[in-house]
Symmetry: C2
Subunit: 162 residues, 2 copies
Amino acid sequence: MPAEQHPGRQGIRKIGAQAERIDSDLAAIRHAMRKPAEAEFAQAGLTVPQTALMRAVVLQNGVSLKELSRQLSLAHSTVSGIVDRLEGRGLLVRHNDPQDGRISRIHPAPEVKEFLRTQLPALTQGPLQAALKRAKPRERNAIEQTLRRLRQLLEEARSPAV
Amino acid sequence: MPAEQHPGRQGIRKIGAQAERIDSDLAAIRHAMRKPAEAEFAQAGLTVPQTALMRAVVLQNGVSLKELSRQLSLAHSTVSGIVDRLEGRGLLVRHNDPQDGRISRIHPAPEVKEFLRTQLPALTQGPLQAALKRAKPRERNAIEQTLRRLRQLLEEARSPAV
DNA sequence: ATACGATACGTCGTATACGACACATAATGA
DNA sequence: TCATTATGTGTCGTATACGACGTATCGTAT
C-alpha cells in the first residue's frame, strides 16, 4: 500500500471540522455578496445575477447562451430564465445566428447599450470591491490566490486522474 | 492621448479587475459545491441545504428557526420553506415552545433520529471535504484563514458603528 | 391592567438555480 | 443521400432564496 494522501497524520476528523467552518464562511460570504450594497444600479431594479449578465452582454455583444452559461458558472436553463426577464423588460434582445440556426445571440437593446457603456466603469462589483478596498494589497492577493486554489481543488473532482 | 504609460499607484481599476476574477472564482466554487458529488445521502433524495439543515437539527435537537437561520446564513423565510418540505416528508417535526409561544422548536422525526445519529459522521460535507483532502495541510489552513478574512471584510460593511 | 414596541414565525410574490426532457439544427458517417 | 449523432436552446417541475407583510406572543412602561 503506497503512502497515503496528503491528510497524512492529521486525521479526517480534523478536516471535517475545518470543512464545516469553511462551509459556514462560504455561506456568509455568499449572503453578504447578495446585496448590491445600495449600489447605483440597485436603483435600476436589477438583481445581482441580472447585473452580472448585463455586464457580460454589453462587453461581448452577441454572445451566445452557452458562452454566458460558462462564464457565469450557471446552468444554461438558469441563464435562459434571466435573459427571459431582461428581454421582457426590453433591456435585451435575442437574434438568431444566421450561420448556425441553433445559436441565439444576445444583444443589449439599442437604447440601453449607449447608456450602459458609459456607466459601466461605475457599476462594478459592489460589496466585493468595497471589501477588497478595505484589505491590504497583500491580503487581496492572498484572497485571490486562495480562492483560485480552492476552485481548482473542487474542480479536480470531476476527473479523478483516471 | 497618452494612454497609461505609468500606472503610478495601483488604482481602483486594478482592484476592480481583481474583484471580477475573485467573483468568477466564487461563482465556480458555489457551482461545484452544489452537487453532493454523488455522495451517499444524495441517494436519500436530500439536497445540499436540506442536508445542512438536517445536520444542524440532529446535532441541536429542538433548535429554533431563528437560530437555524443564523447558523446557515439564510433568511428565516428560506429556512421556513426548507423545514416545510422536510416536515412534509416526515423527516422533521415542529413543536411549540411551552415557555415562549412565539418559538417553534424543530426536532428530527423519531424514526430518522436514530438512523441519522449513527450515519452522521459519514455524510459530511461532500465535495468540499473531498477537495480539502486533496490539499496540503498548509493549503487547508490558508483557505480557512483567507475565507474568514474575506467574510470579515464583507461583514464590516454592514455596521458602520451605529 | 392595558397599551405598545419588539420578537418569532408563517405566508406571499418574485427571482434565482438545477436537471430532465423536447426540439431544431448542425456535423458526421454509411 | 440519408440516417445517426452531437450540439444549442427552450420549457417544465421543483427547490432554494429573499424581502415585505401579517399575526401571535412576549416584555415593558404607563
